[in-house]
């Protein structure tokens, strides 16, 4: 019995001394860390929006954003630390968006991807492809943004983080909601939409009558002959059957199929 008390007392004393010294060191280092992080962030914010003369933090629903101000007027919004799941953990991306909801800068703030493979996502030239993408633009790796071979998962993580940031900023500040598929709200008529296929843009005309899609015509495409024909009629038929843009892609013409689906979505959702 006395033994147990002695063991506990010794262990507890050691733990108390350890906790005390950690509390002391934490008190010394935390202000330094916070100050440095703020400095790094401030410097980066200035690079994203060079025109801005001031940055103001604002917390919306527990998330921290920054407003870039020029002469007291907001010219851009920045979401720091938007996350996407990468290969070695979350990839953290800082995204700056202008007042129209278009990306003006995307920058990888931190990641734990494989050195020599996944770290190519830090390349400014590659990140520049995100600039100009808006809330309703598809941001898909491989079609809209070049994939980097050997770093597919890392590239996708960045794309996820960017679209996430654009959506959150649009919802928090711009009052822009995501485009929605709602046939009941669509008036009768013919609508034009664009999607990206394998060889470039696919443009479709969608005819709606009585809140139903009655016809889909492909107006323009530059897909590969021999593959395109598989999707050309089958996908529009399937969409009209289902009254939904999200149908099974045709094997051997996946990109063309997805292009038509995105074009139909684009036509109806706006």
């Amino acid at each position: 019995m006395g033994d147990i008390i002695k063991l506990s007392v010794v262990l507890a004393l050691i733990c108390m001394v350890a906790a005390g010294s950690l509390a002391f060191i934490e008190g010394v280092t935390t202000p330094v860390i916070q100050q440095r992080e703020a400095e790094v962030l401030a410097e980066r914010l200035g690079q994203y929006v060079p025109d801005a003369d001031n940055f103001e933090p604002e917390v919306v629903e527990g998330k921290e954003f920054f407003k870039a101000l020029k002469g007291g007027e907001v010219i851009a919004y920045i979401m720091p630390d938007s996350r996407g799941p990468g290969y070695g953990g979350d990839v953290r991306v800082n995204v700056a968006v202008d007042t129209d909801g278009n990306v003006i800068a995307a920058d990888v703030a931190g990641h734990t991807e494989t050195p020599g493979l996944g770290d190519v996502i830090e390349d400014p030239g590659w990140l520049a492809q995100f600039e100009g993408k808006g809330i309703n633009d598809p941001i898909a790796i491989g079609t809209d943004i070049d994939n980097i071979s050997g770093a597919t998962v890392s590239c996708r993580a960045v794309a996820t983080a960017v679209s996430n940031a654009v959506e959150q900023i649009a919802a928090a500040f711009l009052g822009i909601a995501m485009a929605e598929w709602d046939l009941d709200a669509v008036e009768d008529g013919t609508y034009t939409g664009t999607g990206t296929g394998y060889g470039g843009d696919i443009v479709v005309e969608v005819t709606v009558s009585g809140n139903k899609i009655t016809d889909i015509t492909v107006v323009e495409h530059s897909e590969s002959p021999g593959f395109w024909e598989n999707a050309e009629t089958a996908i529009p038929e399937a969409i009209i059957d289902a009254q939904d843009y999200d149908v099974d892609a045709i094997s051997g013409a996946t990109m063309s199929s997805n292009g038509i689906m995105n074009a139909v979505f684009d036509a109806i959702a706006r």
């Binding site: 033994d3 010794v10 050195p115 020599g116 493979l117």
Partner: protein, 199 residues
């Protein structure tokens, strides 16, 4: 038993990485560049030295039955101190080493030295053992990191010296390269120990 001998044994004869194969997780994980290897080596050496000092001083106080929890608390405290100080004062290195700093807690080299040496020996011997083992660990990390940096990135300590036509072996920058590189180092060490008749 002499202080100099306790110090020098850690560098060649009982090198923790190349002879005892202790603490291989950080050895394989962080050695993508020589600088990372050096940073990790110095951080581990600091923790090892401090924990050896404290454990050696407390060796008559710590009851045998709870010695492992006591060692771990002491080690974890110093690791957290290193983690926080590095984050504050050496942020670039901290960003590179990332997860591996907290993992020093479970580096079996440190617990191994605490259990096998510091808990049984006086302060001066424990200090020289800690420094010697730490230097040996650091040397091994820098060797492996340097090898991987030269082959995987064509540079050493961030200084690119290879001609532009040199295409780096990407495999040496990836985890697989760590195993291959460590294999070569161990082979070299075995050769050396045969020559020096260490076994």
């Amino acid at each position: 038993m002499s202080i100099a001998k306790e110090f020098s044994k850690g560098i060649i004869k009982e090198n923790p990485v190349l002879r005892l194969l202790l603490g291989l997780c950080p050895v394989l994980g962080v050695t993508t560049t020589a600088m990372n290897g050096l940073g990790m080596g110095v951080a581990s050496t600091f923790v090892l030295l401090c924990s050896n000092i404290v454990i050696s001083l407390l060796r008559s106080v710590i009851p045998k039955k709870v010695r492992i929890p006591c060692f771990i608390v002491v080690i974890a405290t110093f690791v957290t101190i290193v983690d926080m100080s590095m984050n504050a004062f050496l942020p670039d290195l901290h960003a590179n080493l990332g997860l591996f700093i907290p993992l020093i807690v479970v580096n079996c080299m440190i617990l191994g030295r605490a259990e096998a040496f510091a808990s049984k020996n006086t302060l001066t011997y424990s200090i020289s053992d800690g420094i010697g083992m730490g230097v040996g660990f650091t040397v091994a990390l820098v060797l492996l990191g340097g090898m991987r940096e030269i082959l995987g990135a064509g540079a050493i300590f961030d200084y690119t010296f290879t001609p532009e036509a040199f295409e780096p072996f990407a495999v040496f920058a990836s985890p697989a390269g760590a195993f291959i590189g460590l294999g070569f180092l161990l082979a070299g060490m075995n050769l050396l120990s045969k020559k020096l008749k260490l076994d």
